[in-house]
Symmetry: none
C-alpha cells in the first residue's frame, strides 16, 4: 500500500525538491501539490492523501489554519508540518492544531523520509531538536504547598482533579481512565463538595494556584 502525499508549500522549488526526493521511494507517491493554505484544504479533500506535508508560511491561509480545517473536515487526516525556522510558538500551535509531526526542512533526507513513513503509520514524530525543546517545556515545574483540604481527597479523586485541571472534559477523562463518564461525574461532584467549589472551572483555578497541576501532570493511560 503506497503512501499518498500532498505537498503544500508556496515555493515551487521546495515542492520540486520533495517530488524529486520522494520519486526515488517506491512506497511513496506525490499525488498532489498546493501552493497555499486554501488550495491545500481543497486538494486534501479531493485527493485524500495519506499524509499532508504542510509548510507553515503560506499566502492566503497559513499552514496552521489549513491544518485545523483539514483536521476538522477529516479527523483521521495526518499532517506533517515542515518549517524552515524552529520557532517554538509554531510548534505548540501546530501540535494544538492537530498536526502529527513537525520536521525542519533542513533535516537530513533520510529523517524526512522516516518522518513521512512514521506519520503515515499513524504514529507521531518530532525532529530531535524540536523534541528537546518540547521536553524542556514539559519538564519545568514549580510546586507550592497544597491546602490541607486537598488531602481529604481520595487517590482517585486527586487523579481526576489533575485531569480536570488539564482542561479535559468528563468524557475525555473517562476514556483516559477507562471508566464510565458517570463515574467521572460522581468523582467530580465529590471533589467539588469536599473543596467547597461551585464548578470545574473553580477547581481548575484552585489546582493551578496550588501547583497541583504542574506538580503532577500525568500521561494518558493508553
Amino acid at each position: 500500500m503506497t503512501i499518498r502525499v500532498l505537498v503544500a508549500d508556496d515555493q515551487s522549488m521546495v515542492r520540486a525538491g520533495f517530488r524529486m526526493l520522494l520519486s526515488g521511494e517506491p512506497d511513496i507517491d506525490v499525488v498532489a501539490e498546493a501552493s497555499n493554505g486554501l488550495e491545500a484544504i481543497d486538494k486534501a479533500a479531493r485527493f485524500d492523501p495519506t499524509v499532508v506535508l504542510m509548510d507553515i508560511r503560506m499566502p492566503d491561509l497559513d499552514g496552521l489554519e489549513a491544518t485545523r480545517r483539514i483536521l476538522a473536515a477529516d479527523p483521521d487526516a495526518r499532517v506533517l508540518i515542515l518549517t524552515t525556522f524552529d520557532l517554538d510558538e509554531y510548534v505548540y500551535e501546530a501540535l494544538r492544531a492537530g498536526a502529527s509531526g513537525f520536521v525542519l526542512k533542513d533535516d537530513p533526507p533520510e529523517q524526512l523520509l522516516a518522518a513521512i513513513r512514521t506519520v503515515a503509520a499513524g504514529d507521531a514524530l518530532l525532529s530531535p531538536t524540536i523534541t528537546k525543546r518540547v521536553i524542556e517545556q514539559f519538564t519545568r515545574i514549580p510546586r507550592p504547598a497544597p491546602p490541607k483540604e486537598l488531602e481529604e481527597l481520595t487517590g482517585r479523586e486527586r487523579e481526576i482533579l489533575r485531569l480536570v485541571a488539564g482542561g479535559l472534559s468528563n468524557a475525555e477523562i473517562a476514556e483516559e481512565l477507562t471508566i464510565s463518564e458517570t463515574t467521572v461525574k460522581t468523582h467530580v461532584t465529590h471533589i467539588l463538595h469536599k473543596l467547597h467549589l461551585r464548578d470545574r472551572v473553580q477547581a481548575v483555578v484552585l489546582a493551578h494556584q496550588t501547583g497541583l497541576f504542574e506538580a503532577s501532570a500525568r500521561p494518558p493511560a493508553v
Copy 2:
C-alpha cells in the same frame, strides 16, 4: 569519536542483546554494564559513558532514581530510557528526571541505533509511539508558549478572560463589569475562537499557564 555506552538492565539477556546489536556498529562501544540502579550510578561515574541506556524496572534502585542521581553528579550526562511496555506511566517522570530520551525495547534496531546517536549528539528523542502520546497529552491541554493570538484579543476581551480565569461565571462577570450576560457570552465566544479553545475551562488553563492571571488573584471562596 566513538560513542561510549553503558547498558543498565537487570536482565542479562537484554544486556547481551544490546552488546550484540551494538558490536556491529563501528562508532559505538559498550564500555560497561550494570544490573541495578546503584551499579549504574557507580559505573557511570567510573567509565564516563557518552550515553547510558537505562532500564526503569531494576532491583535496588530503579532507573528513574538512578537517572536523577547520575544527572545530579554530572549534568551533562545523557540517559536514554528503555522500557518494555509502552504503557509505562513513567515517561513523564523520566523526562522530568532529566532523561534525554525514551525508547521501547521492541522498537526496530535501526530506531534504537538512531536513538543512541541522536542522544549522543545532544538532542532528545522519543520513540514514535511515545511521541504520539506526549503530543496527545500536549494538545488537548492549551499549552504555554504565549500564543501570539493572545495579542489579537481586544482590551475588553482580555479583561473578560482575566475574570474567566478567576473562576467567575458569565453572570458574575456581567455584574462585575455592569454589562449584560449576553455581552459577556459574546466576548467569551470570540475569545475561544481566537485562541482555538473548546471551552472556558481550557481558557482558564491557558490563562494560568501563560501567567496572564497575575494581579486579580481571587481564588474560589473556600
